[in-house]
């Protein structure tokens, strides 16, 4: 497989998205924050990038992706999982998935954490962006 256009990022040519502070310390009740209001085309989400927020509260986090309108988001995937035990220890991460997650054109995408702490200062990923590729641009070889 190859792409005739190339992979790109969402948000496209804009800053990454900072998820909201978790409201549940038992990995529940994620608070979704919009990453893109409407996907421009059929996409495969093939990776994720983020950095640490430099927080001083230590704990576990699960970064999740959802589709759906505001207030009716449905989680479709986990994007990363992690645990931070030293203040501000986390640095840039860039992960590539083995299988691209299909997202139809016109879809609103949101992200949120499930976490072990509700602290605003939980050491966790921020400035999140997705690595995507246009389905229409993929050719057999």
């Amino acid at each position: 497989m190859r792409t005739i256009v190339g992979e790109y990022c969402l948000p496209d040519k804009a800053a990454g998205i900072a998820p909201s502070v978790p409201t549940n310390s038992s990995y529940g009740n994620p608070t979704w924050v919009e990453l893109v209001a409407s996907t421009p085309e059929d996409l495969l989400v093939v990776g994720v990038q983020f950095r640490g927020n430099g927080g001083s509260v230590l704990g576990q986090n699960v970064l999740c992706l959802a589709t759906g309108g505001s207030g009716s988001e449905t989680q479709i995937s986990v994007l990363s999982i992690g645990s931070n035990q030293t203040n501000g220890s986390m640095y840039e991460r860039n992960y590539t998935f083995p299988f691209g997650i299909f997202v139809a054109a016109g879809t609103r995408l949101s992200i949120a954490y499930r976490a072990s702490s509700t602290s605003a200062n939980l050491n966790r990923p921020t400035n999140v962006k997705l690595q995507v590729v246009s389905v229409a641009s993929i050719l057999p070889s």
Binding site: M1, S26, Y27, G28, L44, G52, Q60, N61, V62, L65, Q75, I76, S77, V78, L79, S80, I81, G82, S83, N84, Q85, T86, S89, M90, Y91, R93, Y95, T96, F97, P98, F99, G100, I101, F102, R114, S116, N123, V135, I138
Partner: protein, 146 residues
């Protein structure tokens, strides 16, 4: 070849972290030559899965550098078979942060399987080890050709 295989399919669902909506698993490490040491992640998988990755943190403790391998096993208690392993290495306390490894070649796990993890490492002192381990899977039923 690697990209050809991985990109020949798309995922119509998404990835799942096990255990679901719960803290990660922290096994007691064993030496590289040791045996046992498995801790259960899930007693029985709900669907046929592709094992796609592992995530973990590093405990704070001794500043002595260490190399570890996190193994994922499938099978009943006491008869786990290693199906994947990832390596992690650190030198100082500043490395105590999260990390993940997404597999290039996912491993198929039958529905109803028990999944466990263990840590093998080059030092016996139990101070700074991988911890809070989760495994990432997706449903094979949600993989379709591009």
């Amino acid at each position: 070849m690697i990209s050809l295989l991985g990109r020949a399919f798309k995922l119509t669902g998404g990835y799942i972290a096990l255990p679901i909506d719960a803290a990660g698993i922290t096994p007691t490490p064993v030496s590289f030559a040791g045996s046992g040491g498995w801790s259960e992640v899930i007693a029985s998988t709900a669907d046929e899965y592709m094992l796609c990755g592992v995530g973990w943190g590093l405990a704070v403790g001794s500043s002595t550098g260490r190399e570890s391998e996190i193994e994922v096993g499938v099978g009943g208690s006491g008869s786990e078979v290693t199906v994947a392993a990832v390596s992690t290495s650190f030198a100082t306390s500043a490395n105590s942060c999260e990390n993940m490894s997404w597999f290039t070649f996912p491993y198929k796990v039958a529905a109803g399987s028990r999944i466990a993890v263990r840590i093998k490492q080059n030092l016996s002192a139990a101070a700074r080890n991988p911890q809070d381990i989760k495994v990432i899977v997706c449903k094979t039923s949600e993989l379709v050709p591009l």
